[in-house]
């Protein structure tokens, strides 16, 4: 009887045992990124930027050159890589919601606005995982965390930030999409988004947000976490592609990119 490998482990994942909590979908996101780099055959031209957060150790798991950025600064560090390396390189930054949408908000907005030729992978699990489950900018209204024990009070702390929609107001980005890791089907779709983002990164700024779970921080089992994500996060963070090359969203149509200052 002969057999083929229907589903194998990509060599782009190292042999290291992952430190993530059981059922945390960071591990799934890592596998998708590793598979995309593997399938594009760009291991020798890809440099990753790891954040400060649960995924700070991403470099132990994805077998490419990496630099470890200060908290919130991955888009700036990635800009430094992009502006000094030959243009054939692929650069991605992998960030969590505290890293990207809180301390690093200026960096992500300006990297996107400059149209830096990068792929940013934004893993949104609506909480600070590594530091023990505090409220993040994407924490949902009424959601209990260690720093919103009575549930997030929007009157005091505002509402969850929709980063894709926020970046979609900018002219320069060429790809902005949000996917989810809450099911096998969504995971398959998420990988396509990542591939699109990597494919387009030499044309401009590409951004993929992945809704992800935090069983430990949410206080739920891995299985219940997936259901919780679909029930609570999807309504607030719709999964869709916001920006693709060529499609200038209507709110930017009035501003024509070729508009120059008239002397």
């Amino acid at each position: 009887m002969t057999e083929t490998l229907a589903f194998g482990r990509t060599p782009l994942l190292t042999h290291n045992y992952m430190h993530y909590c059981p059922g945390c979908t960071h591990g799934v996101a890592h596998r998708l990124v590793a598979e995309v780099i593997d399938e594009m055959g760009i291991q020798d031209r890809t440099i990753g930027v790891s954040p400060v957060g649960c995924a700070v150790l991403a470099y132990n798991y994805i077998d490419v050159d990496f630099i470890e950025a200060a908290h919130g600064r991955a888009p700036a560090a990635a800009t430094g890589l992009r502006r000094t390396l030959p243009p054939d390189r692929y650069i991605f930054a992998y960030q969590g919601d505290g890293d990207l949408a809180s301390i690093g908000m200026a960096e992500i907005v300006h990297a996107a606005n400059r149209g830096e030729k990068l792929t940013i992978i934004f893993v949104n699990n609506a909480i600070y995982g590594m530091t023990g489950g505090q409220m993040a900018p994407t924490t949902l209204p009424g959601m209990k965390t260690t720093t919103s024990p009575g549930g997030r009070d929007v009157a005091q702390t505002g509402h969850p930030i929709r980063v894709c929609e926020l970046l979609d107001t900018l002219v320069a980005p060429v790809f902005i999409a949000r996917g989810s890791l809450s099911s096998a089907k969504n995971t398959i779709k998420a990988k396509k988004l990542l591939r699109q983002a990597f494919d387009l990164q030499h044309q401009g700024f590409t951004f993929v947000e992945l809704l992800s779970t935090c069983p430990t921080g949410w206080g739920l089992s891995p299985t219940d976490s997936l259901a919780w994500l679909d029930r609570n996060m999807l309504p607030f963070f719709p999964t869709k592609t916001f920006r693709e090359p060529g499609a200038m969203p209507e709110h930017t149509a009035a501003y024509h990119p070729d508009l120059k200052v008239r002397d």
Binding site: M1, T2, E3, T4, L5, A6, F7, G8, R9, T10, L13, Y17, M18, Y20, C21, P22, G23, C24, T25, H26, G27, V28, H30, R31, A34, S183, A184, T187, I188, P215, S221, P222, T223, L226
Partner: protein, 74 residues
């Protein structure tokens, strides 16, 4: 016969593969791996369709799926 290979040491008994297998062929083993987790095992491999959903949802990249090549002539 189709079958899957679960890396016993990587498995953290998160159970996501068990949920996704629509033929309910996966369950926790009695014994523990070196990290203290009950790794998942495949029961009744003959029913496995090699659909790979278990591999797709596994956060540890710990599942490999093998599909039997049926000899068409028979």
């Amino acid at each position: 016969m189709n079958h899957i290979d679960i890396d016993r040491e990587r498995c953290k008994s998160c159970g996501l593969c068990i949920d996704v297998c629509n033929k309910h062929l996966l369950e926790f083993s009695k014994d523990l791996n070196s990290h203290g987790y009950h790794p998942v095992e495949l029961r009744n491999p003959e029913k496995c369709s090699a659909c790979s959903l278990c591999g797709i949802v596994c956060p540890e990249g710990g599942v490999q799926v093998y599909k039997e090549i049926r000899d068409k002539t028979r």
